[in-house]
């Protein structure tokens, strides 16, 4: 006999993600799920962003790390709440692991919660964490073919950061190829060409992220943020 089921295999993950999204909406916390390959510059972007926006917004970070807490150590100096999730080999974070650590944050006193997912362009895209949006980071050293090879991420992300543009002269990266692939997949997605080490393009990124957080947390304490 055949028993009809017709349900999402990742239902368990999805239900928990929906729960998290409701909680964060209630608390007016913007959660950003950062997805990239290893070494694309997720942690460096967070360092720059904490320096630029740490005085204006209350930032928290969840660090998904396979075995170490090295990324978290780098962010300690900003005196922000950080929780590390060691996935012990796992290639992605899921909503249950996020849910378990959310209690460690005082959500009433957080505006932006950055989640640094495990470095990987495929698996994390599959698992909704309850985030406000996904952010894709690609570095020029990885080659210009990433959007074409991983279309789902570039379809799902709210913005793309192309990091390490200062290295372009030393690589065969063609920004035209990258752009045309990306535009085929997602014609409207904001693209920020940045260098986290040299500072190029970061002002535009800060402006964009501030716009996003203002739309989420505008009246968090009854006082509009400027």
């Amino acid at each position: 006999m055949e028993i009809k089921i017709m349900k999402n295999i990742l239902d368990r993950n999805q239900n928990k993600a929906d729960e998290i999204r409701n909680l964060l909406t209630l608390k007016k916390v913007m959660m950003v799920n950062i997805i990239s390959s290893p070494g694309a510059g997720k942690t460096t972007l967070l360092e720059r962003t904490c320096e630029a926006l740490g005085a204006k917004f209350r930032i928290g970070v969840i660090e998904g790390d396979i075995t170490t807490d090295r990324d978290a150590q780098r962010l300690k100096k900003y005196n922000i709440p950080i929780v590390v999730i060691n996935t012990e080999g796992g290639c992605h974070l899921d909503s249950h692991s996020i849910s378990k650590v959310l209690d460690n944050f005082d959500l009433d006193n957080i505006d932006i919660l950055f989640v640094e997912n495990v470095g990987n362009l495929i698996c994390p895209t599959q698992f909704d964490l309850g985030e406000s949006f996904k952010l894709a980071i690609v570095s020029t050293a990885e080659g210009d073919d990433k959007p074409g090879k991983y279309p789902m991420l570039f379809r799902e992300a709210a913005a793309v950061l192309l990091n390490k543009i200062d290295l372009i002269p030393y690589t065969n990266f063609k920004i035209r190829n990258f752009n045309s692939d990306l535009r085929k997949i997602n014609s409207h997605i904001p693209l920020f060409e940045i260098s986290c080490t040299r500072g190029d393009g970061l002002a535009e990124w800060y402006k964009w992220i501030v716009e996003q957080v203002n739309s989420v947390t505008h009246f968090k304490h009854g006082v509009p943020r400027s």
Binding site: M1, I9, G89, C91, N120, Q126, K184
Partner: protein, 130 residues
């Protein structure tokens, strides 16, 4: 041919960054639960649907499922994977079309304002058994 004993495949799969394993684990949980609730003593077939945008390698997925189902009522179950292409609806002109070569653009009016109809499925459709 690589062969694994006991839990060693799971360890291997985790080290090799396989999300296929996690999805196969969730699938198996649904299969076992449904089988128990319906008093099946044997699961013969598991029908699933994957959208083409979902980046899952069917062979690895099946291998993972086999490892998890070993010594269970689903041990010999056939895994029937149906892959559905990416299909979009244009919000501008209403045309429905398939996406090929990652071209997310209406084939009629060239608009890029689209809704996805199919392609992201990760569904268990049914199980068969006795």
């Amino acid at each position: 041919m690589i062969s694994f004993q006991g839990n060693s495949f799971r360890e291997y799969a985790r080290k090799k960054n396989m999300h296929e394993l996690k999805i196969a684990e969730d699938l198996s949980a649904i299969v076992f639960e449904t089988a128990v609730n319906n008093h099946l003593s044997k699961v013969t077939k598991v029908n699933i649907i994957f959208g083409q945008m979902i980046q899952i390698v069917p062979d690895i997925f099946e291998f993972a499922f086999r490892e998890i189902a070993r010594n269970s009522i689903a041990e010999n179950a056939e895994l029937n994977i149906e892959i559905v292409p990416v299909e979009m609806r244009c919000k501008n002109c209403g045309s429905i079309f398939f996406v090929t070569e990652n071209r997310f653009k209406c084939s009629t009016c060239s608009s890029t304002d689209l809704d996805i109809i199919h392609g992201k499925e990760l569904f268990i459709k049914s199980i068969e058994g006795e």
